[in-house]
Amino acid sequence: MLKYIAKRIILMIPVLILMTLIVFAIFYFAPGDPVSRIAGPNVTQEVYESIQRKYGLDQPFIVQYHRFIRSVAEGDLGISILQHRPVIEMIKERLPVTLQIGLLGFVITFVIAVPAGVIAAVKKNTAFDYLCMSGTLLGIAIPTFWLGMLLLYVFAYKLRWFPISGDGSLRQLILPGFAIGLTNAAITARMVRSSMLDVLKQDYVRTARSKGLYEKAVVYRHALKNALIPIITLMGLRLGWILGGSVALEIIFSIPGLGRLMVDSILSRDFPVVQGAMMVLTSSIILANVLADILYAVVDPRIKYG
């Protein structure tokens, strides 16, 4: 088992390297000249070239990439053009908020989707099932940002239960957390239901019943553990998606998170910051997938370790 985990983590390294190459290439080939951005318009050729040299922008692609990846390995993501601060520092300030929203959304997703999906499957073709499934259809159809605005209008503006604008408190994260949680729960609940329906038809569920176990043990122990195997993969993918997808919500709720930082930096063409934020987001998606892989092996003994 430890060997399996180690292997997964080692396999993550080439993916991360490839990711840095892609992110770097995007910014290298992206239109827009960072030098004129730093120097401003109307500079002499000498000044322009000295800035180019200072940032190493006169070097060929491969040399620049080499330098980039070396500094990334040392934990240096460059200096913000606008704020003249290390990018890593700016990300460190913003990341916790994004992680908190994402995690809260993730927990809400799980807490709603699993029981709803299981009960809908057990009570297939009953009123509860129909209610659940039409609810999820609605949840899938509603975009996260729109649900965010709706929640903001009802619970913050009308009912005044939550602050409208970001004040940095934990309370402020609840609404965006629900916006993420509810939309993701919709898709996940459907997955849980169909996975559960599939498992409930299996012979081993009948065997469990023939042993005289409580129906609860049959459903929540024997069936659910099997039904969760495909859900874990899905949730791993969703976790990354949730983190990346909170960009719009951070703007609606004016929360100073990583997504907000990225959008602001794109608008002001602060390339090092965008690059850094993108690296962190993609890394977290990769990490989430590795975690899902490991969890997968923990739940399903048929996965070969090693």
């Binding site: 299996q202 012979d203 081993y204 065997t207 023939s210 042993k211 005289g212 176990l213 099997n226 399903d300």
Partner: protein
Amino acid sequence: MNEVILEVNNLGIDFCIEDRVIPAVDGVGFSLLKGETLGIVGESGCGKSVTALSIMRLLQMPPARISKGEILFKGENLLRKSDEEMRRIRGRDISMIFQEPMTSLNPVFTIGQQISEIFMQHQDLPKKEALSRSAEMLRMVRIPMPEKALKQYPHQLSGGMRQRVMIAMALACQPELVIADEPTTALDVTVEAQILDLIHELKDRINTAVIFISHDLGIVAEVADRVAVMYSGRIVEYGAVCTVFNEPKHPYTKGLLDAIPDIGMSRNKRLREIRGVVPYPDEIKNGCRFKTRCDYVRNKCISKEPPLLQLGTGLVRCWNCL
């Protein structure tokens, strides 16, 4: 020792699929004494497994529906029991061995977890004791290194070993009735012989009654005391195993016996088969169910269904035998 453990009377089970009502089992009855083995034989779709599952009350309802009859276990009608009462009986008083050892064990739990939960459920044993009892059961079904097997998952065992685990689970609480639904069909022949020996031996040791379901008359002849031959949801012949096999009365039973290849048979001689296929249970509205495939069919067979009547020591459902 002549205590009746199970008595099934006039059992009828319908399947309601869309607008059709298909009588899968119609008027089936038999009884089982303590420690006795009853074989139920028949082709696929004749209602053997449905009968077995209905005794356990494990049929999916709907689409299945018990239309009539009663199932008396130690004098009490199982069809009248509440779900909770039935749950307590399952695994403790009546247990079942299923056909597919490959899919009948839960892939994500260890063998130890799957056996010990029966002890924990029915006998309130603490986990540790339940596990040591499970190891005992594994030893009883002759699984080598039981302590190691407890920690293994089903996919790490062969088909024969998994079926041994199923048997261990079925016998865990020393039930009074074990229903074995084609327990050896999915196994190869040498393993089949071992499993049959094992069932035979353990049955005597814990003195449990067994309903042994099979499509293989040869196997039933080996293990059963009495046999019921089923055709299209009905019992067509019922009696002591030696009588049914040595002097089969019903044309269907005769046909089944003729269809068993004999090792000493001349190569030139064609193996006799029963012509045609089993009709859907709702296909034949009146007359004998076997009339479409019977070589001895008469006018009476076409219009009127024969009753199950006493003939010698057994029961037969055929006009020709009266």
